[in-house]
Subunit: 252 residues, 2 copies
DNA sequence: TTACTCGCTTGATAAATATCAATAAGGCCA
DNA sequence: TGGCCTTATTGATATTTATCAAGCGAGTAA
């Protein structure tokens, strides 16, 4: 893998506190690869072979059963995914596919396991990462069970706005049908819910959603850190550049 | 805490592999307490003070938002809960209440954290425990998003039967209204779904549910280890297999 | 026993959500 | 620029699920 990718990985919570020799040895074995859009990286039911770290692009976690399919989450750089399957040595519960061309670092699970055993700081970080993932899914389950679809959408919009420093306007990071599936609804239902939110503090123009009245939107969403996640605003975190945003979408 | 409780704890996956001195030191600080039914042990939003181990009785994990409330899970002996909040030092996402008189061992989180740092075997076990919890919630989210309420109920009945060695008759472990909430439906809906399942391989008499035609029930539930959890039957624990079952039936 | 809970069931109705079909809109490419 | 393909929207309708309001029934205390 390229040397200029390592500092990005090193900054991740998972790798930040581990000992340098452990990190270096993992980096020696790891390799970075570019995948085209719409590529199935992981299929549910298979066993973990690599810990994945997404450096660039975006990856969608989804699950299917009995001919139905649903989006379980979307992973953006820089973060890891399927750590749980690596630790547990059990089959993946979700599939993963690239949404766009993506740069991904692959670390063989066997080496991750060795590193976990050897480096207790790494183990602690992995534990924290897993606990975080656990909590994220608890929140998702709460969201599904306690909110209806309109409330979920409202909360999603508010949350996205929050994440970009309370920006009034957000741009949906994925196609609407994917967002719909992510929120546990049909595309038609999402479309109607978007319309319903207009007149409740929101203006929608294509992928661009503008909050005109935060209070009214919040009255529907009733945001709650125990469900929407800690409010980690990202006003100043911009060390990573997104090249050519206008051309960065759609199938490859 | 009583000495006769320690072996039970020691047998838990979380404590099984840790070093004896670490275990003993935790046991010295831990104390066991009996709680009456319907007692709120943990309130969502608060911070973890103790790792809980349920020895006897049963505990319900639930979550509330905006005046609504839902059952997120039920914990039976012998197992631990809220490890994630202990590790992460973040507020609980769920509340916990006893369903009946329960015996619970409490271990101060500070000591758990020290033990995690000192004993890498314990850390690995905790990691596996967290990964398992993570996966459980991924499955719950899949269940909610991919199945409708009738299918969830059918799957629940089959799963309970499986857990007791494919017994034809199971006795619901909790009141129906709690089960309804657990399955993400109203009591009325559960009642009607139970009735709907009669004539599809199930007979219901109060808390007693008998499977008369497993195939018909399975045709509704379409069981899947990636959603319903590993099939750990009570009588014998099968050796781990890693074949790739192509159980993902398309269209149904 | 009677009366009283409390949870379960049932029926009627309403709301939420999905499905199907058709149209509109947007990006992409020749 | 127009044509093509995909996604998004809209309308009509069906299905699923929730709500409200009785009624039922087992367990319990007086």
């Amino acid at each position: 893998m390229r040397d200029d990718e390592k500092p990005n990985l090193r900054r991740l919570p998972l790798f930040r506190e581990m000992m340098t020799p452990t990190f270096d040895s993992l980096m020696q074995i790891a390799y970075s690869q570019s995948f085209p859009a719409q590529l199935e990286l992981i299929r549910q039911g298979e066993y973990a072979d690599f810990l994945h770290v997404i450096i660039e692009g975006s990856v969608e976690l989804h699950a299917s059963w009995n001919g139905r399919d649903t989006v379980m989450g979307i992973v953006h750089p820089v973060s890891t995914f399927i750590l749980a399957a690596c630790v547990y040595d059990e089959p993946y519960l979700m599939s993963a596919r690239t949404l766009e061309r993506s740069q991904i670092v692959l670390i063989p699970v066997a080496d991750v396991r060795v590193a976990l055993r050897r480096d207790s700081d790494f183990a602690m970080a992995a534990m924290r990462e897993l606990a975080g993932g656990y909590r994220a899914f608890v929140r998702q389950a709460k969201n599904l069970k306690l909110r209806n679809s309109l409330e979920r959408l409202a909360a999603y919009i508010l949350h996205q706005s929050c994440r970009s420093g309370d920006a009034a306007t957000i741009v949906l990071p994925v196609e609407k049908r994917h967002l719909a599936s992510h929120l546990g609804m049909t595309p038609e239902n999402l479309s109607r819910s978007m319309k319903a939110l207009q007149g409740h503090g929101v203006v929608v123009q294509g992928m661009r959603v503008t909050i005109t009245d935060r209070a009214r939107l919040a009255a529907i969403a009733v945001p709650d850190p125990l469900m929407d996640g800690p409010v980690i605003k990202a006003p100043t975190v911009l060390p990573r550049r997104r090249e050519m945003p206008s051309l960065a979408r759609k199938r490859g």
